[in-house]
């Protein structure tokens, strides 16, 4: 007698190892949400800065966005670290494609943040509270690529540990950058 059990909808399980090409340009639901949230946040931060000053002052808008992205990056790094701990330690899963793309979006946000800092410094002559802010700022932008390199070249899988290390270190660097940047 044949079994009457219907196969349930298979849960999408990513194969251990490299689920897809690590640098594939693609946006799916979860990383798409993070990308959309980042862009909406940037737009809100810009509109808020314009509203506060009552005019479009490039310096004030840039400074406000530099300030807001630092806080946003800290929160996103915390969320990504928690997700990395959940996926890597609790579920013992490998890096999912959307998580990796999420990390790229964080790298992009931090590069934008660094660019705004450069504009503030060299375009408007603004100086951070302490000169070490420059080092922490560059380190924040450069931090995640180091761990992306370890993860994408890792022969030992799963390799979610790289992102756990990366996002925790990133949080520390952002905290120090905020502490040395604000007057």
């Amino acid at each position: 007698m044949e079994s009457s059990e219907q196969p349930s909808t298979p849960r999408r399980i990513y194969k251990q190892g490299e689920p897809e090409h690590p640098f594939e340009v693609k946006v799916t639901l979860i990383d798409g949400i993070l990308l959309a949230a980042t862009l909406i946040f940037l737009a809100i931060a810009a509109i808020d800065a314009i509203q506060r000053t009552g005019e479009f002052n490039v310096y004030l808008v840039t400074r406000a966005m530099h300030y807001q992205i630092s806080r946003y990056s800290l929160v996103v790094a915390l969320v990504m670290a928690v997700i990395a701990v959940f996926l890597g330690i609790i579920r013992k899963d490998d890096v999912t494609p959307w998580f990796r793309r999420g990390a790229y979006i964080v790298v992009g946000s931090l590069l934008l943040q660094a660019l705004l800092g450069i504009v503030l410094m060299f375009g408007f002559g603004a100086q951070p509270y302490q000169p070490e802010h420059l080092v922490y700022g560059i380190a924040a932008a450069a931090c995640l690529p180091f761990f992306v390199f370890v993860e994408t070249t890792a022969k030992k899988r799963p390799a979610m540990g790289s992102y756990i290390w990366g996002f925790i270190l990133l949080m520390g660097i952002i905290v120090r950058a905020i502490g040395t940047g604000a007057a």
Binding site: Q130, A139, A142, C143, F146, E151, K156, G161, S162, W165
Partner: protein, 269 residues
């Protein structure tokens, strides 16, 4: 003719010794690389020894003349990097599961790159330096029990929140990996009654890494120059330890390869 102080002579010999050891360990890493064998522990140790060399070399230069470059190099290499990089080599030998050692190395590279410009950006107070001074005693302010500055140091007080913020982190981490790693492997190998060379090698590395840290205690034994002897003895112990631990790793690899070959030979028969 003026007599050279013992501390300076020992520092000069220590510089030559660490320079030679750096070259030997690095050459060994290159040989492994040519043979397509991975030995990241040797690279990490050679970086640690190079930092040791830079620290001692800067100490010799700073004995004669003030140089902000050599003071920065002395603090960055000797004060921040040595223990952490030596510990990284031990970590490569101990943490074989996953990518822990590689990830820690990335943290170490990042912190090294961050602290390098920070150290060189610091505004020092060269007026607190004098020829023949012991750098470990004059590099920072000394305070009394109430926290009042009794002797001003070369680093400004504000540096405590900048580059000096990393000093305890790097040294505690380095000590944990060096000493903790040595104790862990000693317990493990003793329990299993295997790899005696690696156990002794790791213990020597740990002892060598701790010698410079016990400089203050050595001074109290009667002569300030003991501290410099301690630094040199540390470098020698580390080198012997590296050679013993690396030899043990090679032996394990060779026996593992032989085990792989034997079944194939048997099948061929």
């Amino acid at each position: 003719m003026t007599e050279l102080p013992v501390s300076l002579i020992v520092s000069i010999i220590g510089t030559a010794v660490t320079g030679t050891f750096t070259f030997l360990v690095f050459r060994r890493w290159l040989e492994k690389r040519r043979e397509d064998k991975k030995a990241p522990h040797l690279l990490a140790w050679s970086i640690g020894l190079l930092m040791f060399f830079f620290g001692l070399l800067s100490q010799v230069v700073l004995y004669f003349t003030w140089s902000p470059f050599f003071f920065s190099l002395w603090y960055w290499s000797g004060g921040l990097m040595v223990a952490a990089w030596l510990g990284q080599g031990t970590l490569y030998l101990l943490a074989r599961k996953g990518n822990i050692a590689r990830n820690v190395q990335m943290v170490l590279i990042l912190v090294s790159l961050m602290t390098l410009p920070m150290t060189f950006m610091t505004q020092f107070r060269p007026e607190n330096w004098h020829p023949g001074a012991d750098m470990t005693e004059i590099y920072r302010d000394t305070t009394d029990v109430d926290g009042n500055v009794t002797t001003a140091g070369i680093f400004p007080a504000s540096s405590r929140g900048t580059v000096r913020f990393f000093s305890p982190i790097m040294n505690i981490w380095g000590t944990i990996t060096l000493v903790g790693g040595a104790i862990y492997s000693a317990v493990l190998f003793r329990r299993k009654q295997i790899m005696r060379d690696r156990m002794i090698g790791n213990l020597l590395i740990a002892a060598g890494g701790l010698f410079p840290a016990f400089g203050g205690a050595l001074i109290r034994l009667g002569d300030p120059s003991f501290k410099y002897f301690g630094e040199m003895a540390g470098a020698v112990l580390i080198f012997i330890g590296f050679m013993l631990a690396s030899r043990a790793v090679d032996e394990v690899r060779e026996s593992a390869q032989q085990r792989k070959v034997r079944p194939a030979e048997a099948a061929g028969d």
